[in-house]
Amino acid sequence: MIRYLIKKLITLLILLGLVSITVFAVLFVLPGDPAQIILGINATPESLATLRAELGLDKSFMGQYAHWMGNLLLGQSQQSIHYKMPVYELIRDSLAVTGPLALLAMLFALAISLPFGIYAARHQNQAGDVVVMVCTQLGLATPEFWFGILLTLLFSVQLGWFSAGGFPGWSTDCWGSLKALLLPAFALGVIRASILTRLTRSSMLEVLSEDYVRTARAKGLKERTVVYGHALRNALAPVLTIMGLQLGQLLAGAIIIENVFFLPGLGRLVFNAIGQRDLPVVRDIVLFMAAAVVVVNFLVDIAYAVIDPRIQLE
C-alpha cells in the first residue's frame, strides 16, 4: 500500500510539473502584450518598458517560468492587474464558493445515481428500469443552465424558498450561504447524476451476473447483503473514475451556472479575468484547474486501491 501511494505521488508531482509548463507555455505564446492592455494604446514606450520590467515580461521564457513557479512555491503569487490584489487571495475567496458547490453537487449526484442505478439494474427491462432510463436520457439532453433557470423559477420565484441568486458569504451568513448553493448544486448534480446512474446500472448489471454473486446467493445471504456487500464494491470502479473527472471539472468552476446564480466562484473569476486580459489571474487559475483534475484523479487512484485489493499488486 505504501509503495503504491509513493508511486502514485511521484507520478502526481511529475504531472503537476508538466501541467505548469504547458499552462505557462500556452499563455506565453498567446499574442497580445499585457502591458499594452493595461496602459492602453496611448502609453509611451518608456512606461510600457517599465511596466514590462515590473511584471517580469522582459525576461526569457525560462526566466519568466522560474520567476512564476518560484513565487508560487514560496506561497507568493503575483498581483492581479485588474483587482490589484494577490491572485492567491482571489482564488481562495472564489474557492470558498466553488469548492462547497462542487462537493454539494457531487453529493446530490451520488445520492441520486447510486440508488437509482442499482434499482434499475436489479429490475432490468421492467417498468421501473425504463422510467429511470428515460429520466437519465432527459437529464443528459438538458442543458444545466436551463435546468438551473427552471429551478429558480419554481423554488425562488413561485415558492420563494430560496433566493434567486447571489452569495452572502460564509462569515456573514453561513446558513444563507449554504442555501444559496443548494439550487445551483442540485442543478449541477442532477445533470451529472444522469451519466452516473447509467454507469452504475450497466456496471451493476455486469457484476450481478458474475459467478461470485451466484456464490453469495447460494450461501443463503440476504439479497441486500448480496447487492450491497458483494456486488456494489465490485461495480464501483468505473463509477468512481467518471465521478473523479466530474469533480475535477466542477472544482474548475461551473462558469455558466455560477453566472446564472450570480455566484462569485472560480468560473466567474476566470471568465472575467479573460475578458480583462488579467494574465496573472488567468495563468494561476488555469494551473489550479489542471491541478484540481490531477489531484482528484490521484484521490480516485487511492480509492481504487481501497476498494479493490488486487490493484496494489500491479
Binding site: 461470485y212 456464490t215 450461501k219 443463503g220 458483494h230 485489493p309
Partner: protein, 335 residues
C-alpha cells in the same frame, strides 16, 4: 417417513430467448438417498448445471423459467417456497460448489469473511465466533497456516487453494446435501485428485449426500455410487455405478464410456485414437419428435425417429430411455 433426501419429479426448465424457447431441462426426474453420492453426467449443454441451479432456485430469471415439476427436499417442495424460505435452505441444508474457483469467490473480500458469512447468516454467530470457526474449517480443508490467511484475498491463492476455500465455505453449516458442479474441471490433474479425496473425507465425516455434476466419468467412478446420464435435457440412463460401467445399455452411455481415453489403449502398429460420438447435441429450441439421440445413434431405426422412448427398466435400479429395450434385435454388433 420418506427415506429419500431429494426427489426431483418431471422437472422442466425452459429459457425464453429471442430465438425461441430452449428446453434446457425437459421432464427429468431422479432421487437421492441420505448419505448417497449421485453422479449427474453428460456433455456440456445437456442441462446438468441448470438442474443443479434449479434445486437452489438460482436459475437466472428471466430468461429461465421453471415450467413444471417438483423438487422435494425432505418432503418439502422447494419450488413452492418463497424467496425467504429458499434463502434459509441455501448454504445451510443444501450447499453448492462451482466449477470455476477463479471467479466464484468475490475478488474484493477477504476469504475469512467469505467463509464465515454463512455461519453469521444461518447460525447467528457473532463475527468473531464465525471467524474462529471459519479458520478451523480452512484448516480442516488443509489450507496451510489457515489462521494467518483469513485476511488474504482470493487472488493471493492458487486455483486448488481457492477450491478448498469454496469447499470450506460450503461445509461450514454442515449441509445435508452438497451439490458439486464440476468441482475439479478447472483444476489440473494432481490437484483434482486432492480435491476429490478431500470431498470423500468430508462426505463420510458429515454423512451428507452429494450430487456430483461432471462430464468426467473418471471422477464419477471415483466418487459416486449411482449415476444419472443426461442428454439434451433428459435423463437417458440411470443405474448403479458398477452396472453402468460394466453393462451400459443406452448407446449414448456406451459412447461416453468408449470416448474415455485409457492408458495402454494402443492397437498394434497404429497410433492411439480417441473415440468420439459423431455429431453434436441437437438444438434445444427445435422440437424433436423422436428420440433426441437418434441423429447420432449408431443403432438408429425407424421407430427412433417417430416416437420418443420412455425410460424402460433394464435391471435392478437400471433404466434407459432407448427403443433397443423393446427391439433388442435392432442393436448392431459393436457399432
Amino acid at each position: 417417513m420418506d427415506p429419500k433426501l431429494l426427489t426431483i419429479e418431471a422437472l422442466s426448465v425452459h429459457f425464453h430467448l429471442p430465438e425461441g424457447v430452449a428446453r434446457a431441462v425437459d421432464g427429468i426426474g431422479f432421487d437421492l438417498q441420505p448419505g448417497e453420492t449421485l453422479g449427474l453426467v453428460g456433455e456440456s449443454g445437456c442441462g446438468k448445471s441448470v438442474t443443479a441451479l434449479s434445486i437452489l432456485g438460482l436459475v437466472q430469471s428471466p430468461p429461465g423459467r421453471i415450467e413444471a415439476g417438483r423438487i422435494l427436499f425432505e418432503s418439502r417442495n422447494l419450488l413452492r417456497l418463497d424467496a425467504e424460505g429458499l434463502r434459509r435452505i441455501r448454504g445451510r441444508d443444501i450447499s453448492m460448489i462451482f466449477q470455476e474457483p477463479m471467479t466464484s469467490l468475490n475478488p474484493v473480500l477477504p476469504i475469512g469473511r467469505q467463509v464465515a458469512e454463512p455461519l453469521m447468516v444461518h447460525k447467528a454467530l457473532s463475527r468473531s465466533e464465525a471467524m474462529a470457526e471459519a479458520a478451523a474449517w480452512l484448516d480442516h480443508v488443509k489450507i496451510p497456516a489457515a489462521r494467518k490467511r483469513l485476511d488474504d484475498y482470493p487472488h493471493q491463492l492458487s486455483g486448488g487453494m481457492r477450491q478448498r476455500v469454496m469447499i470450506a465455505m460450503a461445509m461450514v453449516c454442515r449441509p445435508k446435501l452438497l451439490i458439486a458442479d464440476e468441482p475439479t474441471t478447472a483444476l489440473d490433474v494432481t490437484i483434482q485428485a486432492q480435491i476429490l479425496s478431500l470431498m470423500l473425507m468430508l462426505k463420510s465425516e458429515l454423512n451428507m449426500s452429494v450430487l456430483l455434476i461432471t462430464h468426467d466419468l473418471g471422477v464419477v467412478a471415483q466418487m459416486a455410487s449411482r449415476v444419472v446420464v443426461m442428454y439434451a435435457g433428459q435423463v437417458v440412463e440411470e443405474g448403479r455405478m458398477t452396472d453402468m460401467f460394466d453393462q451400459p445399455f443406452h448407446p449414448y452411455t456406451r459412447g461416453l464410456l468408449k470416448s474415455m481415453p485409457r492408458l495402454g489403449d494402443r492397437r498394434a502398429g497404429r497410433p492411439p485414437r480417441l473415440n468420439e460420438i459423431p455429431g453434436t447435441v441437437p438444438s434445444l429450441i427445435e422440437a424433436v419428435s423422436g428420440c433426441r439421440f437418434a441423429g447420432r445413434c449408431p443403432h438408429v431405426f425407424d421407430v427412433c425417429r417417430k416416437q420418443q422412448p420412455d425410460l424402460f427398466k433394464i435391471g435392478a435400479g437400471q433404466r434407459a430411455r432407448c427403443w433397443l429395450k423393446r427391439y433388442p434385435d435392432r442393436r448392431k454388433p459393436d457399432a
